[in-house]
């Protein structure tokens, strides 16, 4: 106390020290997540086999998904409600950070909950029954899966193709593998407090925007715990989905039963009736005819022509808002022109897209210049 009475200014050292301690404490807590544990070396092939052979009685945990795709803010897509943000709507997952809670006891019993600030959207699957619940609008949709389609897991209606679980994301990344990619293992990592091997996929193609894909595989349970996609444009992952907390105990069976609470608007829908509708398949065929690909591997460019009335339908496959708002977004994108014509350009971190004025679309995980070339050669 003497020091403080003689030098009153010295008192300010105490709160300053507290700030410093708290800051370093938080930094250390974050950093310990990237410390290297010592694990025996495993090759990429061994890891892939491990992943294929992983058998789990159950799985539960919290999944955090971050995307920084460089997309413009879409009205009605990125919309967080009020201060605090964090929308729980299923269509909001295209951009920003989202938290999921996941419970699974095999593919027949899964529950996914998208956590919003004061809301939640759940997808509950129990055998043939799939419930989609939204706490914000108090609605529930009941889907009955056709019996023969049982192996197709998680066929609940999904607004986008963004992977929701690490497992799902890893499957997608692995299926995209071919001779175009170098697959290596690079050390180890700690994900959700567990040691994990890192599988690194590097495109051999120099034109693509994808720098590398890192998949962290749990060292003991061989389950993918995290998937990161890096862009050549940024040091931080452009897309990341991973567990922040995970448990391999079998969840309680009551997690997978859903009874719509009173006051809920329940919609019944038969999934089997919906898909083979002849009108739908005809339209899909028509759309597929206009789609061509140019190039191969990571720098494949998809060319398509838009039906005049369905500008909202084809672009990117993730359009949820009404057509007018999407066209508003389109108009807000920078314009470009060249020998290929003129149109609007979207320069994302992982992919680029060009929508020409005469209704053609080019999308690819490449820089816009490659899209221009593909459009010019059309």
């Amino acid at each position: 106390m003497n020091v403080f009475t003689e030098h009153p200014v010295a008192r300010w050292a105490v709160p300053t020290l507290a700030v410093a301690l708290l800051g370093t404490g938080a930094a250390v807590a974050n950093h310990s997540a990237s410390a290297d544990p010592s694990l025996p070396h495993r090759t990429a092939a061994q890891l892939l086999v491990d992943v294929q052979q992983a058998r789990l009685a159950g799985l539960s945990g919290t999944v955090v998904q971050t995307s920084n795709l460089g997309l413009p803010e879409l009205p009605g897509v990125g919309g967080g409600a009020g201060p605090g943000g964090g929308s729980s709507s299923l269509t909001s997952m295209v951009s920003g950070t989202h938290t999921w809670r996941l419970w699974s006891a095999g593919p027949q019993q899964t529950r996914l909950a998208l956590i919003g600030s004061l809301g939640e959207s759940d997808v509950v699957r129990n055998g043939k029954d799939v419930w989609v619940w939204s706490s914000k609008d108090k609605t529930a949709t009941h889907l009955t899966l056709p019996a023969d389609e049982a192996p197709k897991t998680r066929s609940a209606p999904r607004p986008t193709d963004v992977p929701r679980t690490p497992q799902e994301a890893a499957d997608q990344a692995l299926s995209a593998l071919s001779r175009t990619t170098s697959v290596t293992t690079s050390g180890t990592a700690v994900v959700a407090g567990r040691s994990a091997y890192e599988l690194v996929l590097r495109p051999k193609d120099k034109d693509t925007l994808v720098a590398q894909v890192r998949i962290s595989v749990d060292a003991r349970r061989h389950v993918p715990l995290r998937v990161q996609v890096f862009s050549t444009k940024a040091a931080n992952p452009a897309f990341q989905v991973g567990f922040s907390q995970v448990s391999f105990a079998k969840p309680d069976a009551s997690r997978f039963t859903f009874n719509p609470p009173p006051g809920t608007k329940v919609t019944q829908s038969q999934l089997g009736d919906h898909t083979p509708s002849p009108k739908d398949s005809k339209e899909a065929q028509k759309a597929a005819q206009g789609v061509r690909t140019v190039g191969s591997g990571w720098s494949t460019v998809v060319l398509a022509s838009l039906p005049a009335q369905a500008t909202a339908g084809g672009a990117g496959g993730s359009s949820a808002g009404p057509a007018s708002s999407l066209q508003g977004v389109l108009r807000a994108l920078p314009r470009a022109s060249g020998s290929w014509g003129s149109g609007h350009v979207l320069k994302g971190t992982l992919f680029s897209a060009v929508v020409t004025d005469d209704g053609h679309v080019a999308i690819g995980a490449v820089r816009p210049q490659a899209l221009y070339a593909a459009l010019a050669a059309r």
């Binding site: 009020g82 605090g84 006051g263």
Partner: protein, 292 residues
């Protein structure tokens, strides 16, 4: 305010005391009497309590609100009366409750300095650190007081008008009344902790000035700027460090099962704010020249 008995007697006589006496609560009791006795504070509590009553009566009198409209939890009120305090808290946590904390914090040091009672308070042989600790403890009690002023009338009116049916959690499950009541209590405690952390900021600001209004406005500005920063996505790196950022995580207590991650994070941030700003208030106040 003769508090000679507050200090521990000198031990120069060499006789060891068999047991240390419990610290006197006289200073705290006097402080709480002051806070509770102020007309403006009583009026403030009444205003806080009126909001849930208005919400409940309005919902009762009108047609059922279409789901998704109105504040959060609004459409659930008709199903379970306990949603009245939750809806009221989610509305008032943004502005009204921080405003109440601003009033209390402004009065705590700056108010005393302004009306000239602070120097008399300091003539009492009580260490300045102890005075500050009592001031902060009563601010914490004030935070609980404010939350109770919203939640308890809300729960009483809600249960009276809409009954004690099972509560629908955000996950779509139903839980019984006792379990729902327990969750409301947890939400109240969590929000009180957040407001108490804000109170520490207010206490520090209050030691900087002799104008209670200035201190209250400064804390309100701090709150509003925090909310604004929290809603700007480009400041995402800052969000985990904002005291208001985790307040709405009280919704996590209404899921099934409860999600503790964000709540624990919020409590850690609250604790950090309380520690840093209480120490800053101590550094400022214990070296301050009290001129009025």
């Amino acid at each position: 305010m003769s508090a000679a008995d507050v200090t521990t007697p000198s031990r120069r006589d060499g006789v060891p005391r068999p047991r240390r006496a419990l610290p006197s609560t006289r200073l705290l009791r006097s402080e709480l009497r002051l806070i509770g006795g102020r007309r403006r504070n009583q009026a403030g509590l009444a205003v806080l309590a009126v909001v849930p009553v208005i919400m409940a009566v309005a919902v009762k009198l009108s047609d059922p609100t279409p789901a998704g409209d109105g504040p959060d939890f609004f459409s659930s009120i008709t199903a379970n009366g306990l949603f009245v305090p939750l809806a009221a808290l989610s509305v008032e946590i943004a502005m009204f409750l921080p405003l109440a904390m601003s009033m209390l914090a402004g009065d705590s040091i700056a108010g005393e300095a302004n009306i000239g009672t602070l120097r008399y308070l300091l003539t009492v042989p009580v260490h300045r650190t102890r005075l500050l600790a009592v001031k902060y403890f009563s601010l914490c009690l004030g935070a609980i007081w404010g939350v109770c002023a919203v939640a308890i009338p809300g729960a009483v009116v809600g249960v009276a008008l809409f009954g004690t049916g099972p509560m629908v959690t955000l996950s779509g499950d139903q839980i019984g009344f006792a379990s729902a009541l327990w969750r409301v209590v947890l939400v109240m405690l969590y929000l009180s902790a957040g407001l108490a952390a804000l109170g520490a900021v207010g206490l520090f600001i209050s030691t900087l000035t002799e104008q209670p209004i200035a201190a209250a406005i400064a804390l309100m500005i701090f709150t509003i700027v925090s909310w604004i920063a929290d809603s700007v996505p480009q400041l995402g790196w800052l969000h985990p460090w904002l005291v208001v950022d985790h307040w709405l995580a009280f919704g996590d207590l209404l899921r099934n099962p409860m999600a503790w991650g964000n709540v624990v994070q919020g409590l850690l941030v609250d604790g950090g704010y309380a520690a840093v700003f209480c120490l800053a208030a101590w550094a400022r106040f214990s070296a301050k020249d009290i001129t009025s």
